[in-house]
């Protein structure tokens, strides 16, 4: 059964960035924030709330529909799969995604969540969960 990442308890977040570091460590072999598919950010400093932005695993993904090159294809269980060879960094997909879950790495490649669940494994506060989804 495919899985998807879910922000289960956003208000428990302590803003530690462990999930972001885990995502880039596991999926990009780097220590960085920019390579992480999940995005933790505050707006108005740490004294205000903490935003958690990650792919919402759309079944009919608007990012894929928007991509003029067909680089994003719907993934079994929700979300998309990126074919880097087809992507020409036009960044149209990013605007199509309302939660703004797509951003770009230093090579201007979109960073796309593969729903591996590693970030949830390194969240000490149960903010994130990996859930099984129905196969389409």
């Amino acid at each position: 059964m495919p899985a998807k990442i879910k922000v289960a308890n956003p208000n428990r977040c302590i803003g530690c960035f462990s999930c972001m570091l885990a995502c880039s460590r596991a999926n990009s072999d780097s220590v960085s924030l920019i390579d992480s598919a999940i995005d933790i950010r505050t707006s108005g400093g740490i004294e205000s709330g903490i935003g958690i932005i990650v792919c919402r695993s759309c079944i009919d993904p608007p990012c894929a529909r928007a991509c003029p090159k067909g680089a994003l294809t719907p993934r079994n269980g929700g979300g998309v799969v990126l074919d880097k060879d087809l992507c020409d960094s036009c960044m149209v997909c990013a605007d199509a995604c309302l939660p703004r879950a797509i951003h770009f790495d230093r090579a201007d490649m979109p960073v796309i969540c593969i729903h591996c669940g590693i970030c949830a494994k390194f969240c000490s506060h149960d903010v994130l969960e990996i859930r099984k989804t129905e196969v389409l």
């Binding site: 462990s18 960085s32 924030l33 933790i40 400093g45 740490i46 230093r106 390194f122 000490s124």
Partner: protein, 578 residues
């Protein structure tokens, strides 16, 4: 591997970077490298508030790489003690420096006009801060800068308040609202340089030589940090749990150390705060623990349920210094006092010490309402203490000018030195546990309880019957090894996880090979390099006078004898060669 130092001259407006692998290879980073930079950059005998005094920030080889490697070391000559100034802070700064790509930052000179630094990856700018120079609250300063600076969401913002601008000797630098470079007066040094704030962010990627070794080690350390009990106490009630513990043991300095227990401790205890005032916990970047306890204070200001709401971070030391030490009986009142210090950017521990000394002076008629400008000082009187805090920052007369220089200086001028509770010119941390705590703060490189954890050695002494020499040996062990923790730079709250072996292994996994013995020798070398600076600037362990009060109030280990201290100091000097 990481050895880039950013040099900024506020006077000329120039900046450049230099590779300093000569220093980083030898001293890892953090406190080890910062000490060398200080020795290089700070001319002997200068006034700490002159343009010559450098400000140095350093991260280390594990920063952002491993969990809880979340701190930045700052170094400067201290306007408080006139010798080594060193302070550590968390928040997001360490991560911001890592991803901006700077392992150290050295700031020199004085800007002609109020300025702030804007550092985003390779863009380094000195910008005009005239319009925010007199913004009194550090929180508001942060809000203003957030609107105009890039790096939104993950940048770090350091800034000073009015205390720093007015150069109160123990002004701190606020880091990301809830963390600080406190204690030895970095805020005053900022003020003396016309430097209001520093904003820093970055987008670098760090690649490591052996990713699979790194991932394995990360998993291991993460598990130890999160799953084991090593760090439980910092997470649950936080450090504030110590209020009840130390109170029961008679180790809790109260009312200017007239007592070592507080009859009203319950209503300002960690339990009280957690049950009644705690709002949430947050973390420094890259720390899964989240020990930063934020309380919510709701103060009615008008009829009709009009409330002023503030969010205030609290810790044990703050509750001691503005709570038990001032005889404050309600957690809410402690929060009001913390909030006021935070707003001005004052070091809370020193402010509490200064107020406690002044209160006893007033009680004994050694100062009068003429000195205090009409404020009468009484234990537990929050409103008057709030007024005092404002006056310390404004310094309207000679007495407040003295208070703004700290307890030791004020007592030298006004008397009451036998109860001016300081060690080496710095107000003490909240422990009257016995001789190791006192010796530890005298010899500690920054006169901090965190230099060697003397308080916990006292506690061990009571359960394991340690003699003087054994206590001294333990102090020295901590003094040396914590130099390594602080060079990596790992949070000292995680020192239970970063023991000798884990430090060796963690370094190896990122390509730095050092044996246990090499690290131990390096710890000693760094310690001695700091002492070289301290001595050069006139510090002499033998000249530190211990106020009589320490020997008059019972400690956790009973009455502390002067002879015990002398014996331990003598042993310490012999063994370390300081």
């Amino acid at each position: 591997m990481w050895s880039k130092v950013l040099y900024i001259d506020l006077e000329t407006g120039e900046h450049h970077t230099r590779d300093r692998s000569d220093l980083f290879d030898k001293y890892l980073g953090g406190t080890g490298v910062a000490t060398q930079l200080l020795l290089e950059e700070c001319p002997a005998g200068i006034d700490a508030l002159s343009p010559e005094n450098p400000i140095i920030f350093s991260i280390g080889p594990l920063t952002t790489i491993y969990p809880c490697a979340s701190k930045v070391v700052s170094m400067f000559k201290s306007p408080m003690t006139g010798e080594l100034g060193e302070s550590h802070a968390g928040g997001r700064l360490a991560m911001a420096m890592r991803f901006a790509g700077y392992d150290s930052i050295v700031i020199k000179g004085r800007a002609a006009k109020p300025s702030y630094l804007s550092i985003h990856d390779n863009e380094v700018k000195i910008k005009d801060a005239t319009s925010i120079w007199n913004v009194s609250s550090v929180e508001v300063t942060g809000k203003i800068l957030r609107e105009v600076e890039p790096g939104k969401g993950r940048r770090s913002i350091m800034r000073i308040g009015k205390a720093g601008v007015n150069q109160v000797r123990y002004a701190n630098v606020n880091v990301d609202t809830y963390r600080h470079f406190g204690r030895l007066g970095l805020g005053a040094v900022f003020g003396s340089k016309n430097l209001k704030a520093i904003v820093i962010s970055g987008t670098e990627e760090v690649e490591l030589p052996d990713m699979s070794a790194y991932k394995n080690m990360y998993g291991k350390l993460y598990k130890e940090v999160v799953d084991t009990e090593v760090m439980d106490k910092y997470h649950d009630l936080g450090t504030a749990a110590n209020i009840n513990v130390l109170n029961q043991l008679k180790g809790l300095p109260t009312k200017n150390l007239k007592q070592s227990h507080f009859e009203n401790a319950e209503s300002i205890s960690g339990e009280y705060f957690a049950d009644n005032l705690l709002l949430r916990k947050i973390a420094c970047s890259n720390c899964p623990i989240g020990c930063i306890h934020i309380a919510m204070l709701k103060t009615p200001f008008q009829k009709g349920h009009e409330f002023e709401v503030s969010h205030i971070s609290y810790d044990y030391e703050l509750i001691y210094s503005l709570g038990t030490n001032l005889g404050i009986t309600m957690g809410e009142d402690v929060l009001r006092l913390i909030d006021r210090c935070e707003k001005h950017g004052l070091d809370v521990m020193s402010t509490g010490g200064v107020l406690a000394w002044a209160t006893e002076m007033y009680e004994r008629d050694l100062i009068t309402p003429t000195d205090t400008l009409g404020i009468s000082l009484r234990w537990g009187d929050t409103d008057n203490f709030l007024k005092m805090i404002d006056r310390i920052v404004e310094m309207p007369n000679k007495f407040y000018q003295a208070l703004a220089k700290g307890t030791a200086v004020a007592a030298a001028e006004y008397g009451g030195e036998e109860f001016a509770i300081n060690l080496g010119g710095l107000e003490i941390a909240g422990y009257h546990t016995g001789p190791a705590s006192i010796v530890g703060q005298i010899v500690g490189v920054r006169h901090s309880h965190l230099d060697n954890g003397g308080y916990s050695i006292d506690q061990k002494a009571s359960s394991q019957q340690l003699n003087e020499e054994q206590m001294v040996d333990k102090l020295i062990y901590e003094d040396y090894w914590r130099m390594i923790n602080n060079s990596l730079v790992c949070c000292l709250f995680a020192r239970g996880v970063y023991g000798e072996q884990n430090m060796v292994d963690a370094l190896e996994s990122v390509g730095i090979k050092k044996t246990r013995e090499e690290l131990e020798a390096m710890g000693r070398e760094i310690f001695l390099a700091k002492y070289a600076f301290k001595k050069r600037e006139g510090f002499d362990v033998e000249k530190v006078s211990v106020p009589k009060r320490f020997f008059e109030t019972v400690s956790q280990l009973g009455m502390v004898q002067e002879e015990t201290l002398e014996q331990m100091l003598e042993l310490y000097r012999k063994k370390t060669g300081i």
